[in-house]
Symmetry: C2
Subunit: 251 residues, 2 copies
DNA sequence: CGTATAGTTGATTAGTATCAACGCTAGTGG
DNA sequence: CCACTAGCGTTGATACTAATCAACTATACG
């Protein structure tokens, strides 16, 4: 159990004055995905209700069922979202990285637990304050909508993975996902950083730790990947991995 | 392959005149979930861009990857949404019933195929026309957002099912889902209508036809359900089914 | 230096999938 | 009117993937 509350890690809070000078962190805020389409003034208004924090690894941001009073945006780092069953079985709903948002909820309660994977910088927005901005800035509302839809499409893709793919296909898909994700962030597709543990990967793919480990080993023996060290992987044959991910893993 | 286009089943089209009298189908339109929160005038404007159709069973409304030009709302009947892999493996993303919407998409292409399970009445809205209404009616935008979020929460719940639940838990969850759904529609929770085939249920739960059939039989032997005939099930011990659904199925 | 944790590998088991046969119902056509 | 066929669902036998149980290594930590 993390002993600290979110606010113990709070770094700064922008002044609420909407007529003040552009905040010194506008560059950072602008990078945040759901600010990308906004005007300078709109970004400033958004920044005025924001609250920054640096969180350590394995920090629980909120738990499933908690009152959903804030929305979060990741500046740097990685976060996992998961659901638990009463006997401890866990399903990781998604891994999130720079620019991703989380914490939107229906009926006032978060639908999943959010926990940092590595040290992570986040922005926090109070739902109450964000709601009024959403009313005033239609583009913000539309952007949030688009992000929710993209999450939905991603979740549906993951349902196909969980319900119908083999272990090998699952792991290949996971690696390709991370590779694509890295490229979107302007990073190279191949020396891949894997900040999450094998247990996290297993709970994301609906497998056990052992099966994930074995499958990594198999892919390495096949020459598809390299495992230079813990927390890292090189994709040696991305085409083969993509083929596997799309369904050639049942022969 | 369905030989007919959607338009071959079109029944009527509301007049576009926003000053005309309330359309004779306002009752029907009002029932549609995403109209529920709207004013009479707003409903009329929505109705003016709507197009009704009666579709037969097993009718493909659209395919994954098709240009996403319309959003659909179910008046009566049932629809399944699914994704296919190249070798034919299928994952059903969701079963939809009266009041449910589908067809929202990102990047202009549908992310899944939509097919009727039974004869189904739907409303169709052109994205192009709906978009301008969304700009004019903030409540409509908010309602659509809320529905997308609800779909996201449902998808995440299903990810837990697919990744971590046993066959027995999956089937129990499925039955409880349908039962809750029936109650929301004002129907009794127990004599349950199962319009979808065993194959559909299997592809929804990430199982095979045989395992679904066997699991139904087991639940029947346990006294939890009754199977009076094809397409129907009675929930004899809903409490036990809910318990199973939440995770007591691994003993 | 001892301990804890993450990861890998091996042996065995178990839960579903696969393959196969059969019954039931509905629609078809003689 | 009744065989014939096709599709769906059930049941049984067997196979196989991935889980479980267990041992071991490597690394980090106090």
């Amino acid at each position: 159990m993390p002993p600290l509350d979110f606010d113990d890690h709070r770094i700064e809070r922008e002044p609420a004055d909407p007529n003040g000078p552009p905040c010194k962190n506008c560059d950072v805020v602008r990078e945040i995905a759901f600010c990308a389409a906004l005007s300078h003034d709109e970004v400033r208004r958004l920044a005025s209700i924001r609250c920054h924090a640096q969180l350590p690894a394995a920090f629980t941001v909120f738990r499933e069922g908690d009152l959903a009073d804030h929305v979060f945006s990741i500046s740097t780092g990685a976060v996992k979202l998961y659901k638990l069953m009463s006997d401890g079985r866990r399903q990781i709903i998604g891994f999130l990285f720079s620019g991703d948002m989380f914490g939107l909820a229906v009926d006032g309660g978060y639908a999943y637990t959010a926990e940092t994977v590595s040290p992570t910088q986040v922005c926090r927005f109070a739902h109450r304050k964000l709601d009024s901005l959403r009313d005033e800035i239609p583009r913000l509302e539309k952007k949030l909508f688009a992000m929710a839809l993209k999450d939905l499409v991603t979740a549906q893709e993951q349902m196909l993975l969980l319900g119908r793919k083999t272990a090998k296909e699952k792991v290949a898909t996971f690696l390709v996902q991370l590779s694509c994700r890295a490229q979107i962030q302007g990073l190279p597709p191949s020396p891949l950083s894997l900040p999450m543990s094998r247990a996290d990967i297993a709970d994301y793919l609906g497998l056990t730790i052992e099966t994930v480990s074995r499958t990594f080993t198999h892919l390495k023996r096949d020459g598809a990947i390299g495992l230079p060290g813990p927390g890292h992987a090189t994709l040696l044959d991305i085409a083969a991995l993509k083929e596997l991910a799309e369904g050639s893993g049942r022969g």
